[in-house]
């Protein structure tokens, strides 16, 4: 290979490389141009939107201003009308006051000379007669009502768990009574004392003594819920059964 051919080959290679780089640069430039064009279109569209929105806003503000003006005019008209009406009413009231004053003066000057009519007197007498005739019946009814109220208690007094919570019937009272009680040993006697004290204090608080069974009289089956909450008639039946059994 001669030196000239070598040189030409190297130049050719260099030219090819330059060509490739140029092509790459051209493609990059084309992309950039495309992007710029897209951005421009976006900017244009947003500008258009903003212009449209500003127009719409302007229209709306003008509408609102017009409406406010109309409302203001209406209000002023109504206020004017009302003030006129109040003026006329005040004038009428003054006139009425003057009239009443004049009437009262006239009435004060007239002397009282009124006599009841005979028909009115007759009707009054009739009424008094009927009232007097019905008086014994009314008195009898009153006496009966009074006797019934004496026999029947005014309020239904409940005992046990069926009564309303009060100062006397409260769980805190039970806890206060039980405060110092403890089990002192393992024997049945200790257990009996413990249980029976609870039951006795419970009886004191609930104002009921005959239904809570002591340990000595407790038998199976036994249920606190049924004993305390069941209707009283059922409780009494249970008690009767228990008494019969023992």
């Amino acid at each position: 290979m001669t030196p000239t051919t070598h040189a030409t080959s190297t130049t050719n290679e260099a030219l090819l490389q330059a060509n490739e780089t140029l092509l790459h640069a051209i493609t990059l430039l084309q992309d950039a141009v495309k992007k710029i064009n897209d951005d421009l279109t976006l900017v244009k569209s947003t500008i258009q939107n903003v212009q449209e929105n500003t127009l719409l806003l302007h229209q709306k503000t003008t509408d609102i201003e017009e409406k406010l003006e109309s409302i203001e005019t209406n209000c002023t008209e109504k206020v004017d009308k009302l003030s006129l009406q109040t003026d006329t009413i005040a004038v009428e009231l003054d006139q009425l006051q003057q009239k009443t004053q004049s009437i009262t003066r006239e009435l004060e000057n007239i002397p009282l000379s009124m006599t009841p009519s005979p028909t009115l007197l007759q009707s009054i007498n009739m009424n008094i007669d009927t009232k007097l005739r019905s008086l014994p019946v009314l008195v009898k009814n009153e006496i009966q009502a009074a006797s019934i109220s004496q026999v029947l208690p005014k309020t239904k007094k409940l005992s046990g768990f069926h009564q309303q919570e009060s100062k006397e019937f409260h769980v805190s009272k039970l806890l206060k009574l039980l405060d110092t009680h403890t089990i002192t040993g393992e024997s049945l006697q200790d257990l009996e004392i413990f249980y029976d004290t609870i039951i006795l204090h419970l009886s004191t608080v609930t104002l009921q003594s005959h239904l809570y069974l002591l340990i000595e009289t407790s038998t199976l089956p036994f249920d606190f819920m049924n004993t305390y909450v069941l209707p009283r008639r059922t409780q009494l039946c249970l008690l009767q059964i228990y008494i019969k059994q023992t």
Partner: protein, 134 residues
């Protein structure tokens, strides 16, 4: 009895039950030191939220005549002897305590007779009685 009264009774039952439970599960009420077996029994029942039911289960499970474990009273009767330094009075009170336990437990067999036999025919008791100062 109106439904309102019954409703009130239910409310009161719940309120008093809660209070009762609070009292029973208080460590001071059933102490581990004074009554360890009762304390253990209570531990097994602590899950019960109804105070009345808790009390019922506790009492019934601790009472042999109801639902509780059988207590060997015969062994206690046989073990009941007077100690050399013990007075007859204290021995008698111990015997009466056991007698009360038997009565409360409603033992249907002849344990009470056996107890009296043991008291009056126990050689140590007889000798103690003989040795009493006149």
């Amino acid at each position: 009895m109106s439904p309102a009264d019954l409703h009130q009774a239910n409310i009161n039952y719940t309120t008093f039950g809660t209070g009762l439970r609070q009292f029973i599960i208080n460590p001071k009420t059933i102490s581990n030191t004074t009554s360890p077996e009762s304390y253990l029994q209570l531990l097994s029942l602590k899950h019960e939220q109804d105070g009345f039911l808790l009390l019922q289960h506790f009492i019934f499970l601790r009472s042999p005549q109801l639902e509780g474990k059988l207590i060997d009273y015969r062994k206690q009767i046989h073990d009941l002897t007077i100690t050399p330094i013990e007075s007859i009075r204290t021995f008698y009170s111990r015997a009466m305590h056991l007698h009360n336990e038997l009565t409360l437990a409603k033992i249907q067999d002849d344990s009470i007779t056996v107890l009296f036999e043991n008291i009056f025919y126990c050689p140590s008791v007889v000798t103690a009685a003989v040795c009493l100062p006149s």
